[in-house]
């Protein structure tokens, strides 16, 4: 091959290689568009947004992915931050709660990082950090809330609708063929039996105990002190600080300063968002949620999940 053609071919290969490397690097880090620190420079603090209902939704969005606080996405962000050797993780939580398993997944991941001892974890509460949101926050070394933040709601709720009378009026009946007595335990088409109620109460109690244990372990708070606060009641940030559910009061900027101090960062810390929405992820979920609300009036968490939510 002639030298000039060889040079041209090598240039094409080099450009393709550079493009593939850029994509691979960006995809692996799950980077977003809104970064406070430069992509190349090492960030001191990894900011992780926990906005909306916490659920086990699709991790990376895709054209029609879930835009809420997906547990898998949050875990991915925590691991990316850990891999980048950040000194601290700052959780920015504004969530009414979510499902038990999803909240637990994120909590366990944060506790694993916290126990490793290399990364400090701080939570900055927004408008609301209730129930499942507090579950996650409990894994932090330090919790900061605004005085008017709504928090608490430590408890478990299982809400089952009974639409039997409505269906009777409409003349709609259903036949259930099941493999066991409790296979349709959450059926909304018939009243719940005492046995079923007892079984579900056991399930709620068990999940509640797990929640309590998580807060006890995360906050290092005795169970007898926590229990009176954990009957589902909500607190303002101010009240939560007085009863020990929150460590200090302040806004997001104060939380950054506190995180930097806890992590021993000198000067202004570099903050990088590990969960910021990309352009496509920002656009498509809005369309998706609009379409979903048009197609189905009953949105939110399904009746067959165990929500740790302030409001169902």
């Amino acid at each position: 091959m002639r030298t000039d053609r060889l040079l041209a071919a090598l240039l094409i290969i080099a450009c393709l290689f550079a493009a593939i490397t850029t994509w691979w690097h960006g995809d692996r880090r799950g980077m977003g568009t809104a970064e406070l620190a430069d992509a190349g420079s090492g960030a001191d603090i990894a900011m992780i947004d926990v906005y909306g209902t916490i659920s086990d939704g699709k991790p990376d969005g895709g054209p029609f992915g879930d835009s809420g606080a997906s547990a898998i996405r949050l875990i991915k962000a925590i691991r990316a931050a850990e891999k980048d050797h950040v000194k601290a993780i700052l959780l920015r939580i504004n969530s009414p709660g979510g499902t038990a398993a999803a909240s637990q997944m994120v909590y366990e991941e944060l506790m694993r990082v916290r126990k490793a001892g290399k990364i400090k974890i701080v939570t900055s509460m927004g408008d609301m950090t209730a129930s499942g949101g507090y579950y996650i926050a409990a894994a932090s070394d330090h919790i900061m809330a605004n005085p008017a933040t709504t928090t608490g709601s430590i408890g478990v709720i299982l809400h089952v609708q009974n639409v039997q009378k409505l269906f009777d009026k409409l003349g709609v009946g259903s036949t259930v063929i099941k493999s066991g007595a409790h296979k349709d335990i959450l059926s909304p088409f018939r009243p719940m039996t005492r046995d079923e109620q007892a079984l579900l109460q056991q399930l709620v109690n068990d999940t509640y105990q797990q929640f309590l244990q998580a807060v006890v372990a995360g906050r290092k708070m005795p169970l007898d002190k926590l229990k009176p606060l954990a009957d589902g009641r909500v607190f303002t940030g101010d009240l939560a600080q007085k009863v020990g559910l929150v460590d200090s009061l302040g806004n997001y900027e104060d939380a950054i300063v506190k995180t930097g101090a806890l992590a021993g960062i000198k000067g202004t810390p570099k903050v990088r968002n590990y969960t910021s929405e990309t352009f496509w992820e920002g656009i498509f979920p809005k369309v998706e949620s609009k379409l979903s609300s048009l197609l189905s009036p009953a949105t939110g968490m399904g009746w067959n999940k165990i929500p740790l939510a302030l409001m169902e």
């Binding site: 000039d4 240039l11 369309v287």
Partner: protein, 178 residues
């Protein structure tokens, strides 16, 4: 294709070597792949996002290529140019070879944002100059008249593309806003 690339990038003063229609398509596909992958990396998108962006780039390149060639050809003929529409299309594409460098520059931008920005501007100017020279070459016009054609075509292509993309974007905005 390789000769055209070499001549455009390493002998920028020499006449542009026109590409056949097939090679022009191949060049646009190559530019779409490098552009799509680079931007997917910049936005942190996965495999599906990269494929989607590459297809978007390809569609955009094809539309712009066609619109730009048609507009410059029309304007050049109004200025007594001698070239045809297909000849314009085949001569315009080699001027796009420098766009291949946007891939490495995006990678550079991850570490040296300002330097990459300056170099990207230089490449954009290089492409613009190449387009002017391509129009002058194929239509036998002076560089001044060719520059007028390119500027006019850019304006026409911009408005044409705006009208083409306007409808779906407006629809999307209405769905999100309502």
């Amino acid at each position: 294709m390789l000769d055209s690339l070499y001549q455009t990038l390493f002998h920028p003063r020499a006449a542009l070597l026109p590409l056949s229609m097939g090679s022009s398509w191949a060049l646009l596909l190559l530019l779409s792949i490098t552009g799509g992958l680079s931007w997917a990396g910049k936005l942190g998108l996965g495999g599906a996002g990269a494929v989607m962006l590459t297809l978007c780039f390809l569609g955009l390149y094809l539309i712009v290529w066609f619109c730009f060639s048609a507009a410059t050809s029309l304007l050049a003929q109004l200025m007594e140019g001698k070239g045809s529409g297909p000849a314009t299309m085949e001569t315009v594409t080699p001027a796009l070879w420098p766009a291949l460098l946007f891939g490495p520059l995006t990678a550079l931008g991850q570490h040296f944002e300002r330097l990459a920005g300056v170099l990207e501007f230089v490449v954009a100017v290089w492409i613009l100059v190449g387009l002017v020279r391509a129009i002058a070459q194929v239509h036998g016009l002076s560089l001044g008249k060719a520059a007028l054609c390119v500027l006019g075509a850019c304006a026409l292509a911009f408005f044409g593309l705006g009208a083409l993309l306007g409808a779906p974007v407006l629809l999307l905005a209405l769905v999100v806003a309502s």
